[in-house]
Amino acid sequence: MVTTKGFKDTLEIARTERRELYNIKTLKPASLVLRRHILEIDERISFDGAVVKAVDDHDVEALLARLVEEDPAAVAVCFLHSYVDDSHERKVADAIASALPECFVCSSGQVLPVLREYERFSTTVLNAYIGPRMQQYLDSLLVQLDSREFTGTIFLMTSNGGVVGPKRAGEFPVHTVLSGPAGGVAAAIELGKETGDSNLITCDMGGTSTDVCLIENLVRPLTTEQQVAGLPNRSPQLAIATLGAGGGSIAWFGDGGIIEVGPRSAGALPGPAAYGRGGEEPTVTDANLCLGRLSPDTPLAGGLLLNEGLARSAVGRLALGINQLDTEAVADGIIKIAVARMVSAIKEISISNGYDPRDFSLVAYGGAGPMHAAFIADEIEIPSVIVPFSPGHFSAFGCLGSDLRQTFAQSCRFRLVDENWSDIEAKLHEVESLAMTSIKVDFPDIDSVQVEREFGMRYVGQSWELSVRVPRTVSSTQELGEVFESTYRRRYEHVHELPIECVEMRVTVIGPVAGPGCSLGADVATAPVKRTRQVYFDGAYYETDIYDRNALSGSVIGPALIEEDGALTVLPPGWRLAVGQARELRLQPMPKESS
C-alpha cells in the first residue's frame, strides 16, 4: 500500500470502534497489509482540490526502487481527498504500473471515488488483495474460451445483482465479491414473481458456508455498508449475510465439551468422511448419511458414492468422546446445531431489523439447503418453504437472467439555491457519458440502456447524505428540493427550514439482458418413481418414501425424500409438499392434530 505521508496507520487505526460490546477480549480485525508493507509519499491535496504538496519525482523514484526490490503482487495507491482529485494517485499508480508490469495496481479514486478515506482505502486494499488472482483467472478463462471458438458475450456477476464485462471485473474485482450469492438472490426475485410470493428469505447452503438474504416486496435489498472479514467493503452490493456452516462443516468439541459445527470445513478434499478421501472428522453430510437421509446408493453429481460405514465411524468417534453410544442421536444433534446456526443468522437479518420471519417464505437452494430447510422453518415458524427446480444450480441460473448494471458515482458539492438546473443537468450528462464510455470498453455495440439517477443530498451542516432517487422528469432545483424533502420526511419524520446541498451524483446504467425464465426444466412425467428407506427423524426411524423430482407432480405427505441431480429435499413427518407452477416444491407444516 502506498499512502499519504503521516497516514500509514489509517487501516490499522481504522475507525477505532468496537463491534462487539461488553467483551474485554474483543480484538480489532487485523488489517490486510502488514505495517512494514505500507509506504508513504509526501503529497497532499486539500478537501477543496487545492494542491498543498505536489508529488515529487524523486520521491516517486525512491518509492519505485523500494517496490522493485520488494516485488509485490499488488499495490493499492490510497491518498487523502482523491475523491475530489485523483491526479496524484494516478501519477503514482501509473509510475508503478510501468515499473512493475506484472504487478496489479489500483488506486482509491478509481475503485470508489467517495468521501471518507478509511472506508475507501479499505475497499481499495481489498480490491488489490484479490486483484492478481482474479486477473489470472479471467486471463485463463478468456484464453480457454478463445481456443474453443466461443463467440457469445461474457458477463460477470457483481455483488449488486447485475452483470458487467470482463475488463471491468478484472480491474475492480472487489465489486464481484458476492457474485455467487447475488446470483441466487436475483433468481429468487424472478422466482417470486412467478409464484406470487413477494416476501422472501433466501437460504443458500453449500459445502462450506450459507448465505441468507431478506427480500421485501421483491425489491433488491441494496447496501454499501458490508464487510469482508470485518473490513469495510463499500461497493454497492446486495445485503447478503454469510455464515461459516454448510454441508462440509466439521463437527467438533468446543469449550466445555459442547459439540460445535463449523466454521472449519472439510472442503472438497479430503471432504466429508463418507467421501472416502481420507477425511476422519464427521461433517454435516456424514450426519445426514447416518440418519438415512442421504443415500449410499445414489451417486452424487460427479459420480461419487457415499460410504456409510466411514460416516458412521466418524460420527461414532465423536459420540465416544461424549460417552454417547447412540450414533443416530449424535448425528441428529450435529444437524440440529447446524440448523440453529442458520436460524440465528436468519433472525439477525429479519427479527433484528424489525421483520417478523413469519411474514416470509424461505427459499432454500444450494446443494444442502433443501435438506435442512424444513427444520429451519420449523424453528423460526416460517410458514412455507420453497425449493426451486434444480436448487444446486439456482445461483448460476440467476446470473443468466441478470441485467447489465453499473453504477458511477461522482463527488460534488453545491447548495441548491446557488445552482441552475441546467448546470446540474450538464454535470449529470457528464457522468452519464463517462458511464457509457466505460460500458463500451466491454460492450462496444451496446445501445439501448436505462439510466437511473440518484443524488446524495443533505441539509447544510449535516454530514450524512440521504440517497435520493431523482426521476428524469425533475427539471428544476425547486423540484429537486421537493424530492429531497419528501424522501427526508418519509425517513426521519421531520424536515428543516435549512438550505439543502448535494454532495454526490450517482448514475446507474442498466442494459437489459434476456434471461431464460424460471420454468426451465425437464418434461413432467406422470407417475413418481418410488422406493422406500428407513430414515431417522427426531428419535425414531420412519419408513420413508423416496421420489425422483423429475417425475414428481401433485402433492406428498412427509416423511419423504425427493432426490434430484445435485440436491436432496427432506420432508419431515408432519410436513407436506406440493409441486407448483414454476415446478417449485412448496413445503408446509400440516396443521397439528388437537389432542
Partner: protein, 683 residues
C-alpha cells in the same frame, strides 16, 4: 420472580422487535444530526423504558449512556408523577440525577396506550456544546458545574404536543451554535416519532398484555442469567484502589477510588467506601456513572453474550459515601464522568483479577480523552466546535496482545476520531498526521495495545483548545507482572517549538492561532504477564513493525538481536536471567498507620528507607508500584521513612489485601516515571 407463559418464538420476536426499534432510532439519528460528535463519532444512545424506569430494550448503545439512564428516567418520573400526558416531551441533562456530563442531553418521549403511560423511547446524545466557559463545554480545569454549561433538570419541552417556546429559546440562547443544537434536538425527536409508529404497530399485532408479558419475562431471564454467572464466583471480599488526577491550580492532588467488591451467593455489591470526597475539579460523577463502570466490568469478563437491560442490573448493588467523587452533589463539576466510569472499570478489573485471573486483561487506556477546539471560520462563515476522543490501547490478556487505538469496553461502538476527509471539509483544521504511538503499550508476555498520535493544525483565525483527560501522570497498570502503559500526552507546537502544558491531561481554553499544531497522544493499554516471558519472536516482530523500539526490546523484554535482526537466543537468555536477578523485592511489614496523604485528594504513601531508595534509584515523592501475589499492582508515592529498615515495606491491611500478601512475604517493586504537574504534588 413470576414466570410468564410466553411462546418462546413470540418472546424472541417481540423482544427483538423492540430492539429493532432502537436500532432504527439509531440509524435515523446518525443520518439526521448536526453535531459531528453524533454523526461521525456515534456519541449517542437510544433505549426504551417502561413507566417503572426499567430499561427494557437497547441495541449497540453506549454503556456509559444507557446504564445511568434508568436513574434519569426515575428522577423524571418522580418530578412529574401523575403529570405526564400524551404529547409531552421531557428534556434533561442533570449530572447529579442520573446524567453523565452536561453535554449528554436526554430526551424522553412518553407513549400512551389506552390512556395509560406505556413506554418511553429515550435518546441521550452528546451535543457538541451546551454553554459554559469554553467551546465544546469541556473544561479540564473547571471548578464548579456552572462552568460546564447549562444544567437542565427534567423539564417539559413539549406540553400536550405544544412546544414550550420560552424554554426552547432560553436553552438555545445559552449554547454555542444554536442552529446545530436545534437540528440535533429535531433529530432526536424524529427518532422518537419513528419509535412511536413502530410501537403502535407492535401493539396492534400482539396486544398490550402479550407485549408486557414479553418485557417482563425478558427482564427476568436476563436477571437469572447474570445471577447464575455470579453464583459461580467464590463468596468473599475483593479489594482494589486507584486514582483520578485532580489539579488544585497547577498542583496535582490525586483523588482515591477505593473498592470492596463483595460476592455473596448470586449477589454482587460494589462498595466505594473510603473513596475521596468530591473536589472542586472535574473528576467527580454520580453513582449511576460509577455503577455503569461496575456493570461493564462484570459483564465483559463474566458474560459477554448476555442481554443488557434493567433485569441484568438487579444482581448488582452499589454503595458510596455521599458527596464523594462517585456520588457528586451540588455544585462540584462532573465533566470527567467518562474517567470516573473508566476508573470504576479499572478498580473492578483489579478486584476481579483476584477471582477470575484468566478472564481479565491489563488495565485499559482509562480515559475518554475528549479534546475540543472551537472558533469561527471566516471562509465557511460559521462557528465550529471540534471534538475528538482519540482511542488508546487495550490491555493484553491471556490469549492475545491488546488491540491498539481501539475504544475501551465501556465506550460502546463510539468512533473516537473523525474521518480526516470529513473533518477537513467541515472545519478549518488539517490533520497533519495520525499514527500509532511507538512503545506506548505496556510490556508483557501479552503486550498492551498502543495509543495513537494525532496532530491537528489550525488553518484559519484563532481558536480555543481544551482537553479533559486522565492517566496523564498515573499510568494504566499491567496484570501478572505486565508493565504499565505510557500515559497520555498533549502538547502544542508553534513555529516548530513543541510545548507541554503545566497540568498534564487537563487544559481549559488554551488560545491557538493559525498555523499552530495541537498534538494529542492517547495512552496505551497495560501488559499481561511477565515481559521476560514474551516469545522473543513476537518481540522481534513488534520491533520490525515499529510497535516497539530496539531499545524497548532490550531494556523491557531482554531480547537481543544479531546483525541480521534475528533473535540472538544465547545472549537473550543470559540477559533475561540477569534482569530477573536484578529485580528489587521488599519484605512486607504490617503497619496500620493511616496510609493516605494529600490535600483535598488522597493518595497512598509508602515510607521507605534511604537505602531502599538508593537501590530503587528513586526519590521521595516518586510514584512506584508494588506487585504481590494478586495480579494487579498497588500504587504508592514514596515518603521518607528514616526509622524503616532497609528493604522493608510497611503496608496497611487494605493494601495487603490488594496485594494478596501476608506480613513477612515479599513484593516486587518498580518505579513509574512520568510527567509531573508544574506546581508539584499536594501536601
Amino acid at each position: 420472580m413470576n414466570t410468564c407463559q410466553v411462546n418462546p418464538i413470540t418472546l424472541e420476536v417481540v423482544c427483538e422487535s423492540l430492539r429493532a426499534i432502537v436500532k432504527e432510532m439509531r440509524a435515523s439519528i446518525i443520518r439526521a444530526s448536526f453535531s459531528s460528535a453524533i454523526y461521525e463519532l456515534d456519541d449517542f444512545s437510544c433505549a426504551l423504558f417502561n413507566p417503572q424506569a426499567d430499561m427494557v430494550a437497547q441495541s449497540d448503545d453506549h454503556p456509559g449512556h444507557v446504564m445511568p439512564m434508568p436513574w434519569s428516567v426515575k428522577c423524571a418520573m418522580e418530578d412529574f408523577q401523575g403529570d405526564i400526558f400524551p404529547g409531552d416531551v421531557l428534556l434533561l441533562n442533570d449530572a447529579y440525577r442520573g446524567g453523565t456530563h452536561l453535554n449528554d442531553v436526554t430526551l424522553l418521549y412518553p407513549i400512551f396506550n389506552d390512556g395509560e403511560l406505556f413506554i418511553f423511547p429515550a435518546v441521550r446524545a452528546h451535543w457538541a456544546d451546551v454553554g459554559g466557559m469554553t467551546p465544546g463545554s469541556y473544561s479540564g480545569l473547571a471548578t464548579s458545574i456552572y462552568q460546564e454549561g447549562v444544567r437542565i433538570p427534567p423539564i417539559k419541552l413539549y406540553e400536550r404536543g405544544k412546544v414550550n417556546e420560552g424554554v426552547m429559546r432560553l436553552l438555545l440562547s445559552n449554547m454555542r451554535l444554536p442552529d446545530e443544537r436545534y437540528g440535533d434536538l429535531n433529530a432526536s425527536l424524529g427518532a422518537c416519532r419513528v419509535a412511536e409508529q413502530r410501537i403502535e404497530k407492535i401493539l396492534g399485532k400482539y396486544g398490550r398484555t402479550l407485549v408486557l408479558d414479553c418485557i417482563c419475562e425478558n427482564l427476568d431471564r436476563s436477571e437469572r442469567r447474570i445471577r447464575a454467572r455470579i453464583q459461580d464466583l467464590p463468596d468473599g471480599e475483593y479489594c482494589y484502589e486507584d486514582y483520578l488526577e485532580y489539579y488544585d491550580g497547577d498542583v496535582l492532588d490525586p483523588v482515591l477510588m477505593r473498592l470492596r467488591l463483595k460476592v455473596s451467593g448470586d449477589q454482587l455489591t460494589a462498595d466505594f467506601d473510603g473513596s475521596s470526597p468530591q473536589v472542586p475539579g472535574v473528576v467527580n460523577s454520580s453513582l449511576a456513572v460509577a455503577g455503569a463502570g461496575v456493570f461493564v466490568a462484570v459483564k465483559s469478563t463474566l458474560d459477554p453474550q448476555g442481554p443488557v437491560n434493567s433485569g441484568a442490573f438487579r444482581a448488582i448493588a452499589l454503595n458510596a459515601p455521599e458527596a464523594s467523587i462517585v456520588d457528586v452533589r451540588n455544585d462540584a463539576p462532573a465533566g470527567a464522568h467518562g474517567e470516573v466510569r473508566k476508573r470504576a472499570v479499572s478498580v473492578m478489573l483489579g478486584a476481579l483479577a483476584q477471582v477470575i485471573p484468566e478472564a481479565v486483561s491489563g488495565d485499559l487506556s482509562g480515559t475518554s480523552f475528549p479534546n475540543s477546539i472551537g472558533g469561527y471560520s471566516k471562509s465557511r462563515d460559521r462557528s465550529y466546535v471540534y471534538i475528538e476522543v482519540p482511542a488508546g490501547g487495550n490491555g493484553g490478556f491471556l490469549e492475545a496482545d491488546g488491540s491498539s487505538a481501539f475504544v475501551n469496553v465501556d465506550f460502546g461502538s463510539i468512533r473516537s476520531i473523525h474521518n480526516v476527509e470529513s473533518l477537513e471539509s467541515d472545519m478549518p483544521l488539517q490533520v497533519r498526521s495520525c499514527v500509532l504511538r511507538e512503545d506506548s503499550g505496556g510490556e508483557g508476555e501479552r503486550r498492551g495495545g498502543l495509543g495513537m498520535r494525532r496532530e491537528l493544525r489550525l488553518c484559519e483565525g484563532e481558536a480555543l483548545y481544551s482537553v479533559l483527560g486522565d492517566r496523564a501522570v498515573i499510568p494504566p497498570f499491567g496484570m501478572h507482572g505486565g508493565g504499565p502503559a505510557k500515559q497520555l500526552s498533549v502538547s502544542w507546537e508553534r513555529d516548530q517549538t513543541v510545548k507541554l502544558f503545566g497540568t498534564p491531561g487537563k487544559v481549559t481554553g488554551h488560545p491557538i492561532q493559525k498555523g499552530d499544531v495541537v498534538i494529542m497522544e492517547s495512552a496505551g493499554g497495560g501488559g499481561y504477564g511477565d515481559p521476560l516471558n514474551r516469545d522473543p519472536e513476537d518481540v522481534r516482530n513488534d520491533m520490525l513493525s515499529g510497535y516497539i523500539t530496539q531499545h524497548r526490546a532490550e531494556a523491557g523484554y531482554g531480547v537481543l538481536f544479531t546483525g541480521e535482526w534475528e533473535v540472538d537466543d544465547a545472549r537473550t537468555s543470559a540477559l533475561r536471567l540477569d534482569m530477573l536477578g536484578r529485580r528489587l523485592r521488599l519484605t512486607v511489614k504490617a503497619d496500620e498507620t493511616y496510609p493516605y496523604i494529600g490535600n483535598r485528594g488522597k493518595r497512598r504513601a509508602v515510607r521507605l528507607s534511604e537505602g531502599t531508595l538508593t537501590r530503587l534509584g528513586a526519590r521521595v515523592g516518586d510514584l512506584i508500584e508494588l506487585i504481590g501475589n494478586h495480579p494487579a499492582p498497588l500504587r504508592c508515592w514514596i515518603e521518607f521513612g528514616g526509622e524503616i529498615e532497609q528493604d522493608i515495606c510497611p503496608i496497611d491491611e487494605f493494601g495487603r489485601s490488594v496485594l494478596g500478601v501476608e506480613p513477612a512475604e515479599t513484593v516486587w517493586v518498580r518505579s513509574l516515571p512520568g510527567p509531573s504537574a508544574a506546581g508539584g504534588m499536594a501536601v
